[in-house]
């Protein structure tokens, strides 16, 4: 597994270089479900790059990926979960605050995860049997702090409409943040800068952070039903030691 983990680290780094090298080209931007749900040719190119590199080393592996028709269930064999560019709208409008994310599962068991904030040059990696690092810095497990001294990253639409009781939770924390990238938000949770992250997201958004978070005292759960690694769901990543209290606040606020 160590060999595969090292391969993944070097792969995601190369994908970042590939992406940066193409950033000066004009983007082909396509709307998916609506004008806020964008995909670019670069999303597809980075995904193709990742998949072809993985297959050249591990030809029997499978993929669950954001773009195109790679929809292997994570509990069937060796499965890479790929988000080629998380935060596509930031990529298009800001040219920063986007990430490449990889997670690797064997028969449903998370082995490691990686989140690479390309423009900040910050690679988060680890989980499973591996400690979690940001670049050369080993991340510490969650240290308990009161909710009212902690920041939370959220989906603002869920807050506006108090979906799942989120507005009640927001009233009890120090503040809320919205960065426009699920994986970057969850990386800030891993590094202890945020208490947690609550949004409406897909497997490739949360897979890597979930695996790394388990090693640092965090849980990543579905708010309505169990995570199924298939549909877009209401997802919460919070410290295990605060989870019951947070669920209670959410339930009391609906």
């Amino acid at each position: 597994m160590e060999t595969k983990f090292d391969f993944a680290k070097s792969l995601v780094w190369s994908a970042g270089e590939f992406l940066k090298a193409g950033m000066d080209q004009p983007l082909e931007i396509t709307e998916k479900t609506d004008f806020t749900d964008l995909v670019t040719d670069m999303d597809r190119k980075v995904q193709d790059f990742l998949i072809s590199e993985i297959l050249s080393q591990y030809p029997a592996d499978h993929f669950l990926a954001e773009e195109e028709d790679y929809k292997q269930p994570i509990d069937k064999g060796s499965v890479w979960v790929i988000d080629p560019i998380d935060g596509t709208n930031n990529f298009v409008a800001q040219k920063c605050d986007f990430a490449i994310s990889l997670a690797y599962f064997e028969d449903g068991v998370g082995q490691f995860g990686l989140i690479y904030d390309v423009m900040a040059g910050e690679l988060f990696y680890g989980g499973g049997q591996f400690d979690v690092f940001c670049n050369d810095h080993r991340l510490a497990a969650y240290q308990k702090k009161p909710l009212n001294q902690s920041l939370l990253a959220i989906n603002p639409g869920m807050y506006r409409h108090n979906i799942q009781g989120l507005a009640g939770l927001v009233d009890q924390v120090l503040g809320i943040r919205t960065y426009g990238s699920a994986t970057i938000s969850m990386a800030k949770v891993l590094s202890g800068q945020l208490l947690g992250y609550i949004s409406h997201i897909s497997p490739w958004d949360y897979a890597a952070a979930k695996i790394m978070g388990e090693r640092l005292g965090y849980v990543t759960i579905g708010l309505v039903e169990e995570l199924n690694f298939s549909d877009r769901q209401y997802v919460m990543m919070v410290p295990a030691s605060q989870c019951d209290r947070i669920i209670e606040i959410l339930e009391n606020s609906r």
Copy 2:
């Protein structure tokens, strides 16, 4: 004015070094109006540092500053508007995403502004007779883009309660962001990453960005009444060329 501008650049840089040198010390944190409105001893120390350095060079100058009793009206003489740490909650909880901000007025006319994102090492400076830079990079004037391809930074409470019609505007943009620092949000507007910023803020939050923005095609205005550089007000910084359209959308959404 060039000498004073150079002095201000070197001063804000020194204040950043002063702040970073003190970051490992335990913070004394005090609540101002409530548990989300914090001030630390470091806010006061940075402000004292800035004021004493300015007075040593310019003993007749005056101050409008966030902490303590410096409340000179900007239209009376030579006035420095100071936010020693904008994004204090980020400073406390994240140790990043906070900024030192300075603006300088003579008889009410903005001469230059500076926003220093300390941990990112990004200094925005210029306005008045000076071009606007981020570090060594000269910033370009606003280039018109459709609203639905543009991101907006907002105060999430204003969005939740549709204050000033903000929810209607949000429906027409590519997405919204919340970074927890007014000056960093407005610096992202100056650099073209965001269309604009709408929040409920004080003079030291918007003074520097307003002066720099005027040089790049942005206006910073009060949504309810004219900016008075005194009270906390509903403030919007947007491209001058989009301002009428944005006001129309806000008015139609109330």
